[in-house]
């Protein structure tokens, strides 16, 4: 894969149109100023992108084995030993890995008859289940940029979670059918309080927590001329009539886009299902799409790879020699909480930073192989840590933006760090891999 021109490592140079993995936006217009063998500045990047690109990596050994520094080969052998000898291994993470590494990870999971689940399932799991039930209407970000005259943020705060979403993609830019940009668009925010995005809203509906399903279902009922509980607005903290008014606006826009994120999904997949059903219903009247605000840089890619290789988008187990998916049984968090895995492979993630306590405790107890570019709490607790090249900085690959558009990552710096893909392949070959089919 052709890299950026890496030139003289000492000189300062500019690397144009680099792709960021700081969040699901995968902005590919980042201009990197490279100096002293590292990224000095990431122009156009938001603070998440700057954190992604400008982090200084501490001096790391190729690997750590139970805390002591180790060589790569030794660590790979030990990793193969742990994973090959496990009876019920878990492969987890992957939301920040390239699709090339994700493909290797699925192959490796199959070789060890393990279970693979993707981190970032706070949003992705419920969305996946909801889509299986009712389908959905969606679009790539450029469609929203070109056509959307109404943006509905349902418990979504893109200004905080995806800082360039409004400015580069959805609210501010001029587009084919919105030539005046922001002035041609209406921003409706439905949320619990005055988030940053709420402060930008043209229309703000503040709702109490715990009623999202009912409200979304009621909106759909209004569209279908079905009766709605007249007390619902008061219960939820809304002014009377505001639901009908909202339904009218949604129905009468030219092209509507509903943005939603983890906050909607923490209530479970029924809330997501209700939003997706509403968006589908709106297509009886106008053009409407729903877009998830995924937080990890390649959560979409992980789901895509798992789906194309196995037929299922998450929580896949290979114990019987073929893929089975059952979120209740094979979701990583649940499995860890129940103390089921006897070993784990973590790729490009730091689960100890966000797992619930019982799951984190179990992860600390079992042998773990952790593959990634940074020293984290998870690598510190790992049995084996294998350090790898940073994506988009030292390592190329493909990332799927959160709307499914595949974008190339290129390496800005020369490196001797192996990629996640290489490390996973090396472990696989020690296990007598099934290969690529």
């Amino acid at each position: 894969m052709p890299a950026h021109d890496l030139g003289d490592p000492g000189a300062r140079r500019t690397v144009p149109h680099a792709t960021c993995m700081g969040c699901g936006c995968a902005c590919d217009d980042i201009e990197l100023i490279v100096a002293q063998g590292w990224i000095e500045e990431a122009r156009n990047a938001c603070h998440l992108g700057q954190a992604w690109f400008e982090r200084r990596r501490e001096d790391l050994p190729p690997a750590r084995l139970k805390g002591r520094e180790a060589g790569l080969e030794e660590a790979l052998d030990a990793a193969a030993g742990i994973l090959g000898g496990a009876r019920f291994p878990l492969v987890y993470g992957l939301g920040r890995a390239s699709t090339e590494a994700q493909r290797r990870a699925v192959a490796l999971t199959e070789t060890i008859s393990g279970t693979i689940d993707l981190a970032g399932t706070v949003l992705d799991g419920p969305v996946g289940v909801a889509i299986q039930e009712v389908g959905w209407s969606t679009a790539t970000l450029g469609e929203v940029r070109a056509r959307a005259d109404l943006l509905l943020c349902w418990r979504a705060d893109p200004l905080t979670t995806h800082p360039r979403h409004f400015s580069r993609y959805s609210l501010e830019p001029a587009g084919l059918l919105v030539p005046d940009g922001r002035r041609d668009r209406t921003l409706v925010v439905v949320d619990g309080g005055r988030t940053d995005s709420a402060r930008e809203a043209d229309i703000l509906l503040e709702i109490r927590p715990g009623w999202d399903f009912e409200l979304l279902w009621a909106l759909r009922a209004i569209l279908k001329d079905a009766p709605v509980d007249p007390g619902l607005e008061e219960l939820t903290g809304l002014r009377p009539g505001s639901l009908r008014e909202l339904a009218r606006r949604l129905r009468e826009c030219r092209y509507g886009a509903a943005l939603f994120g983890a906050a909607l999904a923490t209530g479970g997949d029924l809330q997501v299902l209700a939003l997706l059903s509403l968006v589908t219903e709106l297509n009886r009247f106008t053009h409407f799409v729903a877009l998830p605000l995924r937080e990890e840089g390649n959560a979409a890619g992980a789901e895509d790879v798992l789906a194309w290789q196995t037929g299922f988008a998450g929580a896949v187990n290979f114990s019987r020699g073929h893929p089975r998916s059952n979120p209740g049984e094979f979701s990583a968090v649940g499995m860890l909480e129940r103390g089921e895995p006897d070993a784990a492979l973590i790729v490009a993630g730091d689960p100890l930073a966000h797992l619930p306590p019982k799951a984190a405790d179990h992860l600390r107890r079992i042998p773990t192989v952790v593959v990634g570019s940074d020293a984290t709490a998870t690598t510190a607790a790992a049995t084996i840590a294998l350090f790898t090249a940073s994506y988009s900085i030292e390592c190329a690959g493909t990332v799927h933006r959160m709307d499914g558009v595949p974008i190339a990552l290129r390496a800005a710096l020369a490196t001797s760090w192996p990629s996640d893909e290489w490390v996973l392949a090396a472990i696989s070959s020690r296990l007598g891999t099934l290969g690529d089919g």
Binding site: T138, N283, G311, S325, G435, D436
Partner: protein, 558 residues
Amino acid sequence: MADVESLRITGGRVYDPANGVSGDVRDVCLQGGKVVAEVAPGARRLDVRGMVVMPGGVDIHAHIAGPKVNAARKLLPEEHRADPFGGGPGRRSGSGGTVPSTFVTGYRYAMLGYTTVIEAATPPLQARHTLAELADTPNLDRAFLILLGNNISLFRLIQASVRDGGAGARAHVRDAVAWWLQATGAYGVKVVNPGGVELWKRGNRNLTGVDEEVEGFGITPRQVIQALAAAADELGLPHPVHIHCNNLGAAGNSRTTLDTLAALEGRRAHLAHLQFHSYGGRPGGRPTSRAPQIAEYLDAHRELTADVGQVMFGPATTMTADAPLSHMLQQLTRKKWVNADVEAESGCGILPFRYSARNYVHALQWGVGLELFLLARDPWRLALSTDHPNGGSFLSYPRLLRLLMDRQFRNDMIRRAHPSAMRRTVLLDDLEREYTLDEVAIITRAGPARQLGLSEKGHLGVGADADVTIYEERENREEMFSAPRHVIKDGCPVVADWELREPGPVRLLRVVPDYDREIESTLGTLFAEQYSVRFENYPVRESHLLSPDRVVPVRGRR
């Protein structure tokens, strides 16, 4: 991978219609991945006495890889739970159903004797995704067509070309098409409901005729079709523009189809899933069959080819870039539905489906497809397809072949189908035709290879790729074609004695037509207006996605 140095396939009855071989008992010699005239006396032998030998199957139109297919996979875990596929040494596991996972797609196509499959529709923006899925699809040489019929940048160039009428503007369209083919690794140009998907995005509308205006661009589907057909011809692409006409599925749409064909003004074109475009009847009313008229037109116009798009009773998954069509199906059936607009280029609609013999419309569709097969006089220009998985899974091809070859079986099926629908077709006239093995070899191998411009596929002459399928002769043609005994890919046995072996060598087939570099600055400006990704990042250059490949030469300016 297994490497077979040389092989003599001996004693079989060979059907190689491209080379005039029709059931002769003769040897087929393979060496170095190619068909050769002779091999050394000590070469390995495969004794296939009593068996039928054909070139490997070529599927000209199927949906097997890419974001649309994958969205359908995610929609249908229930199908995958019902049809698990076990792995083993050298074999990945997966799921089946109407939208199998990628490894299973490759294995099951191989087990049916297919060695080349064309992915019919990829939005160029997402070519990387299609390429990655194809890389995980074993045993098949592969190619894909890119969707250019609702491409805003091309609309602008076509608009300029129509307005200015000069050679310069026309050249821009041609250069842009060439740029897109090079930038994606694609094989050809696909047009789906030209203009209709743009109208879908503009308030869920559609269009039904070639002279309706595409709002916002001042052009018509006729002009889009003419521009892209001209570009494909002038670039000398091995496969002509591949068209999914406006108005698919609607009663009376044969009118739209004939208008589309007339718009081509004698230029070459391939018509996708022609069955879905061959209906009579009043718009909004019950469809009837116009297959005889469409078949006659096809026969009279040697510059046209088509694949049938046969509907088969049973489960299917509709997946199409024709997003407004998909929405219409959703409104009718209320099933779970996926819509996915692709910026500046295309759309996508997915809906699970089931064709029932007792349903008037489905039975009519089934009948129309059979009419097209049975009335066509030139099997070289009519390929077998079910528009997998829209009309049914590729796994139903053997049953379809039996319907074509076994008149008694066919008549039994006709008797079970909705009687009014059958009365609207000529099938009740007891069409006597039974496809011969020759003709089967044409519609499943030799014809599609020729339609695609693949000179090394679909035949067993010296120089052909060593892709060979060997069937045991069986009276029940469905049984015969559903389980070839041996399948050879590039000289390597991928199926031996009915069992999957190690996967064989595969390659991406693509075209790399020249273009004037000036077009890049024009496109760069259009991209900045239309796309949310950088123009510089759009082209696929990653060798791990594009290789191994075979660049099929274009014929140069016409």
